[in-house]
Symmetry: D2
Subunit: 343 residues, 4 copies
C-alpha cells in the first residue's frame, strides 16, 4: 500500500510502498478514507525537537482519521467488517491507575498512533478496538476524520458547564474555532476569540459571525471584554496559543472565580503573577490534553445530533495523499483551517 513515511531526521517525508499491516487479536484493520493534518504531524514533518525526542524511524505518521473496517482481530467483540469508524489516537494500557479510574486518556503507559505506532497517512491503518469509535450512519467520513481534534476542543471547554456563561478563546486555529462552536452550541452567553494571524481571524469571523473576534495585539481586548461583561470578565477562558502573551491574556480576561483551560503547549516556561492571575482571583485552572474517553466523544456526538454546531466549514482544504508536501507546507504556514489528506 502507499504510505507517507518519516524516514530521516530532517525536514520532509516520503511516500513509499509498504506492507499492509497485520492485525493482532484486539485490532481492527481500517481502510483510511480521510485523514486530517494535526500540529503533531507538522512537528514530525518539520522534525522539531518535540518530534526528535519521541519518534523512532521509520514511522508512518498521521492519526486523525476515519474509514471502514476491513478486517477484525479474533478477540474483537464490538466491531464488524463494514463498520465505519473514527480513531481515538491515544492507546491506553487499560491496567494502570489512570485507566482504572476513568482517565484512560492520561494512561501512565500511553502510546500515540502515528507517533509510537504506525499511523494513518496510508491506505490502511491498524486501530486497537479500545480506540475505535463507530460513526453514526448519517455522519460523513470527512467529519469522522476531524472528531479527534473536535474532542480536544471539547475536553478543554467542557471541564464544567457552559450554559449561560461567557467564554473567551485565545487562538483561532481549528481547535479554537471548534471551541467557539461548541460553546455557542452549549448556550454560552457571549463568545470572544483572539489571534494574531489574519487568515485565522478571517476564518473565525466567517464561521462564528455572532462572536467577537479580536486581534490579540491590535485590539483593546480587555476593554472589549470588560465592557461586554459588566466589568467582570469571562467565566471561562481557553488558552490554545501555547505562548506567554496568550497565557497572560487568558488570565487577564478571566472573572473572579472563573475557570481557565490550558490546552496549547508552551515550548518554553511561562512566567505568571500567580497572586493576581490565579490566587486572589480564585481561578480554577485545568490542564487539558487529549480527550476524555469516551465521555467527550458522546458529548460531541450529542451536540452534532442536535445540530448545535457544524464543523465542516472549518475544513478549508483537501489534497490527495500524493500531494502531501503541499498540504503539510500549507498547515505549517498556519494559513489554513483543517486540511485533509485523502488516501
Amino acid at each position: 500500500m502507499k504510505a507517507l513515511v518519516k524516514t530521516k531526521t530532517v525536514r520532509g517525508a516520503e511516500l513509499l510502498d509498504v506492507e499492509v499491516p497485520k492485525i493482532g487479536p484486539n485490532d481492527l484493520l481500517v481502510k483510511v478514507e480521510a485523514a486530517a493534518i494535526c500540529g503533531t504531524d507538522n512537528h514530525i514533518y518539520d522534525w522539531s525537537p518535540w518530534a526528535a525526542a519521541r519518534l523512532k524511524l521509520p514511522r508512518i505518521f498521521g492519526h486523525e482519521y476515519a474509514g471502514e473496517v476491513v478486517e477484525v482481530g479474533s478477540a474483537v467483540r464490538g466491531f464488524s467488517v463494514g463498520d465505519r469508524v473514527a480513531a481515538e489516537t491515544h492507546i491506553p494500557c487499560l491496567t494502570c491507575f489512570q485507566c482504572r479510574t476513568g482517565r484512560q486518556h492520561t494512561c501512565e503507559k500511553m502510546q500515540i498512533i502515528g507517533v509510537h505506532t504506525d499511523g494513518a497517512f496510508a491506505e490502511y491503518s491498524l486501530l486497537p478496538e479500545a480506540c475505535a469509535w463507530k460513526l453514526a450512519p448519517d455522519m460523513s467520513t470527512e467529519l469522522g476524520a476531524i472528531l479527534e481534534p473536535i474532542g480536544v476542543a471539547a475536553n478543554g471547554l467542557f471541564k464544567d458547564r457552559i450554559d449561560g456563561l461567557s467564554v473567551a478563546v485565545v487562538g483561532c486555529g481549528p481547535i479554537g474555532i471548534f471551541c467557539g462552536q461548541l460553546a455557542q452550541g452549549a448556550g454560552a452567553r457571549q463568545l470572544f476569540l483572539t489571534d494574531v494571524n489574519a487568515y485565522r481571524l478571517d476564518l473565525a469571523r466567517k464561521v462564528l459571525p455572532a462572536a467577537r473576534v479580536l486581534n490579540a495585539v491590535e485590539d483593546d481586548v480587555l476593554g472589549v471584554v470588560r465592557e461586554a461583561t459588566e466589568g467582570r470578565g469571562v467565566d471561562v477562558a481557553i488558552e490554545l496559543s501555547g505562548t506567554q502573551p496568550g497565557t497572560e491574556q487568558a488570565f487577564d480576561m478571566l472573572a473572579k472565580g472563573g475557570r481557565a483551560s490550558l490546552v496549547g503547549l508552551p515550548p518554553r516556561p511561562v512566567t505568571l503573577e500567580m497572586t493576581s492571575a490565579i490566587i486572589y482571583r480564585e481561578a480554577i485552572v485545568y490542564g487539558s490534553t487529549g480527550r476524555l474517553m469516551w465521555d467527550t466523544w458522546y458529548r460531541v456526538g450529542g451536540l452534532l445530533k442536535a445540530g448545535a454546531f457544524d464543523p465542516m466549514p472549518v475544513i478549508t482544504h483537501r489534497f490527495p495523499l500524493s500531494e502531501y508536501a503541499q498540504a503539510l507546507e500549507l498547515t505549517l504556514s498556519a494559513n489554513a483551517g483543517k486540511v485533509l489528506l485523502m488516501p
Copy 2:
C-alpha cells in the same frame, strides 16, 4: 390603589381599594407593570387545602411580577428609584444554615410573597432588596414578569450539565415548555415532552417544533424514547406533573446512571418500585423547589442574552387586572400558557 384581595375562605377574590404599602429600611416599593398567574394563585383563588393550610386572610396575592422602583428604603444600597426589577418570590432570613451556605431558596424560615406577605396583583408591591433582580435594559417588563417561573424550570433542569444529553420533560405546562427551551438552548441532544392535555400538547408542538411531543397515554412513549436513544433511555428526566403515572413515566424513560428532577408537587403519596426505578438504575434524583439564588437567574439571563431561547410565545393571554376572574378561570382550566394580569 387597586388590589386583588383574598378575603374569604371560599372560591374567589375581590378587587378592592387599599392603602399603598409602606416600605421598611430594606424594602423597595415597586409599581407593578405585569404580573403572571402561577399555579399557587389558582390554589388561592380556588381555596384548595394547600392554600387553606398556609394563608391568613385578607391577603393580596400574586408573586410573579416586574415593574419599576418608585421608592427605596433607607438601608437599600444596590437599587435606585427608576430601576426596573423582577421579583424573586422567596424571602430568605439570611441567617440560617441554608441561607449561610448558598441555599437561600430553601431558607429554614422562608416566607413567600403573595402567600405570607402581600403580593403583586396590585398597583404597587413591596419587594425586599434581597429579592430584587435588576432587569437588563433591553428586556421587556412582560418577560421580566415570567423570569420567576423560567427560574423554576432552570432550577430543575440545570442540576448538572445538559450539553449533548437527551432530555425528557413530563408535563407541557409553561414550566415544561420553558424546560424544553432551556434544554435546547443548552445543547441537548434530543428532547421529548409528554402531557395529556390537548391545548398544552399543541402549544408545546408550536413552541418546540424540533422536539418529540407525545401524548403520555395514547402514544408509545417508551418505544419512541428507546428507539431514539439506542435503547438507553434519556440522560435527564424532569417530572412536572406531580402525578403517580407521570412519576413512573419519568423513571421508565431514564437511562442507567441518568438523573431525574422532581419538580411537580404530588398531592398524594407516590408508590414506586425503588429497586428497578432508582437503585439498579443508579439514578440520581433531585428534589427541586423554587430557584437557586441567584445562580439560576444569572444562568437564565445568560441564555436569554445569547438568544438561546425565546420564552415570549409561552405567554398566550393578557388581561387587565379588572378581568382577574376570567384570567384565573382560564388558568384553572389549564387551556392556556402563561397568563398575565396588567394592573
Copy 3:
C-alpha cells in the same frame, strides 16, 4: 475439587467434587483462600424468587473472595502467578455506553460471578482480569475477601464528600457497620445508626462506640437526631434496610438539601410523600448498586492504608467449607456479622 453447588430449585445446596475450571485468554485461575457469605448467597441457598428469576442450575455460588493466582490466561498482562487478589464480582462487557463512560459497574450486559458464572465457594475459581484487584502485601486474605461488600458501603456513602457532615445509616448489618466506619474515617461530624435486630444493634455498638446506635422502632430516633443536629437533620442518610419504614425514616432524618443513598433493595414498592420527603427538602437521592470500578476500591484502600478504620471485627464467624449449611443458616438468621467460608 470440592465446590458448593446449587443443583435443585429448593432450599439447600450440595458439596460436590467437580472439575477445576479451565481458563480463557483473559482469565485468572484463583485458589480461593477465604470467601464471605453475601445476602445474595442466602437468596440462592434459600431459593427465593430473586434467585429463581436469575440462576440456571447447576451453579457454584459465592462471589466475595480472595486468594492466590495459580494460572493466568495468554492475554493477561497485569497479573502473574503468585499474585494475591480479591474479586470484583461484576463482570463488565467493556464496550457498552456504561462501560465506555466510567460506569462499568452498571454495564448494560452485566454478568455476576456466582450468579451468571460459577463462583467461589470452591477450591478454585475463574476471575476475568478485568475483575481482579491486587492485594497490598500487608493485607490479609480474610480482609481481601470482604473488600467487595466494603465497596458496596463505600459506593453508597461516597457519592460526595463526608468530611464534617452528619451521617445516618438505616440498617446495622455488615454493610451498615462498614458505612459507619468509613464515615468516621472520612471525618463525619456525627454518626447515627438504626436497626431492629438486637444482635446487629449490639455489634454496631461494639464496633462503633462513638456513634449513636438506636433501635429504629423503640427509640425516639427523630428526636435524637434533631436534638443533636440543631434541629436540621443529617446531611447524609444511607438506606440499607430495603423496607418501607426504613426508607421513610431515612428521609425523615434528612436535612434540607441533604443527600440520601438507597442501597437496600426493597422487594415491594415503596410509598412516599414525595413533596415533603424529597421535593420541598431539595434532597438529592442516589440509587446505589455494586461498586464504582475502580475508584471505590482505591478509596477504600487509601482509608485502610491510613488506618482510618478496621473492618476485621465485623467478621464474626469462620467455618470450613464443609460446614456450609451451618454457616448459611446462621447468616439467614441475621444473628451474625460477616461470615467466612474457608475452602
Copy 4:
C-alpha cells in the same frame, strides 16, 4: 480603650488610648478576648510594600479574633448580647455578582477588617453581623480566635474530597499544619509536609507524628513521595510557601489528574514549565484565598465536633497586648506557631 494602632509609615506600632467604636445598625460590638497574629499583621507592623499599598493610617490592626458580644445594632437579628463569636475578616457587600452567587469571600468590593476598617488588637472591635460566627458552647475563645486561619487551610484543602487520597503540603507554618490535621481528620491516605525552617519542621513533626515531614531542600522529597505512592505522586498538593521552588515542588509531587491549591502569595512572578507541570499532567489548579462563607466554617466545625483534629497545640505562644512588640518580632522571625495577643 487600649488599642494597637499603626500610626506611621515605618516599622512599628503604638499602644494608644482610643474611643470605643460606635456601632451601626448592622454591627456587633465585641469585647475582644483573644486575637491571633496573622502574616498580614506582620506586613503591617513591618510596613512592607503590600501594607503600604493598602492601608490608610492611623489604623487599628489585627483581625483573627474571638470574644463576647456586648452591644448589637438596631437591625441585627441573628445575634444577642452575651453571644460568644469569632470573626470572619472579609466584609462582603452582599449585592455584587460574587456575593449573589455564593462567593461572598471574593466580593468585588471586599473590605478587610484590620486593613480597610479598624481591627481587633484592641479591647473592643466592631463586627458586621454578616461576618459573625457564633461559637459552640464548648469551644474555647482561644480556639475561636484561630478559626479564621484554620478556615484558610480548609478552603485550600477542601476544594474537593480528601478521603482515601494522598496529600502533600508545601510549608509548615500554622496554616500548613492545619492543612495536615484537616487532611488526616478527613481520611487522607498519606500525608507529606515540607519546609526549610527548622522550628516549623519540628513543630510539624510534633503535631503530626504520622506524617512524613521533610526538609524541602535537604531531603529527597520526590524520591520519598514516589516511593510511597507507587510512583504516581500525590493526589492533592497544597502550596503555602509563595515561592518559586515551593511552587515547582508542589507540581513535581503531583500525580496525573491530581489537584493543586495555590494559597501562599508569591511576591514575585513564578516561572513554570506549563506543559509538564499542568497540561500533560491534566492537573487541576485552584487559586485559594480567604474562606468560603460559610461552608468552610461549618465543615471545620463538624470536624472539630467529631474530634477529628486538635488545633490547640499549634498555638505556641500567648502575650498580653502590652507585649505586642515581642509577639510581632517573634512571628516575623518565623520561629513560632500561632501566637495570641490577649487584650
